[in-house]
């Protein structure tokens, strides 16, 4: 059973629908006890880091996630869930969970798109190729050239580059899949990335 953490963060039902489609059992909960007891946790999200962190704290879910991580339950963060596992986010200057050392940084508007004089459009929105830089069971069957769907203005930058598993390119390269131990997180919306995105959710079920 996969437990989806409910902290008013948008794409929860999309993730649940994708898991239902794959026949993977899941439950949605805002109860910190249920998160502590969970075998596996998905921590999805759309929105702003500051707002996400304050809801997590209000509901006591920040401590529950830390305990769940410490006890070794596999955890998957998606989008905002990939950013607030780091120590700090430039968005709202927010103190985050710190499960993985590093910070979340804003794309620089001064970059320009390759081959274009126009400034980079922010948010980075649409399908972008993901390049696996280190093999990981969560990225099994993700092949060169596979694209995933992104919508974000900030990206995760772990302090330790050995914790980066995949990158994409948008005015420069940036980490899109990061992890350590039983924690893995993706910046892209794997639940909205077609067949290859569903594969990552299946990988999590098996992980």
């Amino acid at each position: 059973m996969i437990t989806l953490v409910d902290y008013n963060a948008g794409n929860l039902t999309s993730v649940r629908r994708a898991l239902n489609h794959l026949g993977i059992p899941c439950q949605i909960t805002a109860d910190p006890e249920a998160v502590r007891r969970a075998d596996k946790v998905i921590f999805p999200g759309v929105g702003a880091a500051g707002a996400a962190m304050s809801v997590l704290r209000q509901r006591g879910l920040d401590a529950a996630l830390k305990e769940s991580f410490a006890k070794g339950a596999p955890i998957l963060g998606i989008c905002i869930g990939c950013q607030i596992i780091l120590g700090h986010s430039e968005e709202n200057d927010a103190e985050c969970l710190g499960l993985l050392p590093g910070k979340t940084i804003r794309f620089s508007a001064s970059f320009s798109a390759p081959g274009s004089a126009l400034p980079l459009k922010i948010p980075h929105m649409g399908w972008n190729e993901v390049t696996v830089t280190q093999p990981h069971p969560m990225l099994a069957h993700v092949n060169p050239g596979d694209a995933f769907y992104f919508v974000h203005s900030y990206y995760p930058q772990p302090a330790d580059v050995s914790q980066v598993y995949a990158i994409s390119e948008y005015g420069g390269t940036f980490p899109v899949a990061i992890g350590r131990d039983n924690l893995f997180a993706v910046q892209f919306h794997t639940e909205k990335s077609g067949p290859v995105g569903l594969r990552v959710l299946e990988n999590f079920y098996r992980w």
């Binding site: 999309s14 508007a109 929105m125 769907y149 919306h189 990335s193 077609g194």
Partner: protein, 260 residues
């Protein structure tokens, strides 16, 4: 590198597809969910559903369509038509759409864009604008005017000004629909699309006039669009998504390939 997106729109009336759209499987004729699934499997990048249901009594049917699409189609999609309040927008997002698509209601009451953007984030708000070419004037310096009611009602608003305003109010993307080009299948309105794409810092989706893959290439390069909307090219079975993307890739554009 970010791919150029190919998006298609499906007009839905009382829960059924409104246009005569060709189906692979005849038992599915008229079913928007089956059509969405077919395009998803072909590798379409995104979908737009326009609810053209006349009676507000039947609006609930659209929500049912939205939730059935969300259960089977794992690409982003937006829903437009008849969204006048944040509450209207909230209902379609809860039913499983990623984005709302606002048009006439936003022209009449621009605060709708700000309210929806604040409530759901800019990424969830797509502003569609219908544009007609007119003589340049002090009021319409770009010679592109915003119209509503399917092009019948000119609003006296310059399209470039409106694009700026929309971005400022919190729209996350713009659909630029040329009423002049719409239905001609002779190509997108390249000048209009380029002017808007250069004016704003958010993605621009070109709409109206696509008849063959070359037209998409033109609007995604010369027109500087981030995405192109296709309708009849796909709906009448003239091209598949794969054929369109194959052509664009041959021309050197980055498009998403789907391996199953």
């Amino acid at each position: 590198m970010l791919s150029k997106r190919i998006i298609s729109c499906l007009d839905v009336r009382d829960g059924k597809l409104a246009k005569s759209i060709k189906f692979v499987d005849t038992k599915d004729i008229g079913d928007p969910v089956a059509k969405a699934r077919e395009y998803y499997q072909q590798g379409l990048d995104e979908l737009v559903f326009y609810d053209i249901t006349a009676s507000s009594d039947n609006r609930g049917i659209m929500l049912d369509v939205v939730s059935r699409v969300a259960e089977q189609v794992f690409i982003p999609f937006s829903v437009g038509g008849g969204l006048r309040t944040v509450e209207d927008c909230h209902r379609v997002l809860l039913a499983g759409a990623e984005k709302v698509n606002v048009n006439s209601a936003a022209v009449k009451r621009p605060q709708l864009i700000a309210e929806a953007s604040k409530a759901f984030g800019a990424q969830a708000v797509v502003l569609s604008m219908d544009v007609l070419k007119v003589a340049a004037s002090a009021q319409i310096p770009s010679s592109y005017e915003i119209v509503i009611n399917g092009g019948r009602t000119p609003m006296g608003i310059d399209a470039i000004q409106w694009a700026w305003r929309g971005e400022e109010l919190g729209a996350g993307e713009l659909v630029v629909n040329s009423i002049d080009a719409d239905g001609t299948k002779k190509g997108y309105e390249l000048t209009l699309t380029r002017l808007v794409a250069e004016a704003v810092g958010i993605p621009v989706i070109a709409s109206g006039g696509g008849g063959k893959p070359e037209h998409l290439y033109d609007v995604l390069t010369e027109g500087k669009a981030d995405a192109a909307l296709v309708a009849s090219m796909l709906h009448y079975g003239e091209y598949t998504v794969g054929q369109i993307k194959g052509y664009l890739a041959e021309q050197g554009l980055m498009v998403r390939h789907v391996t199953t």
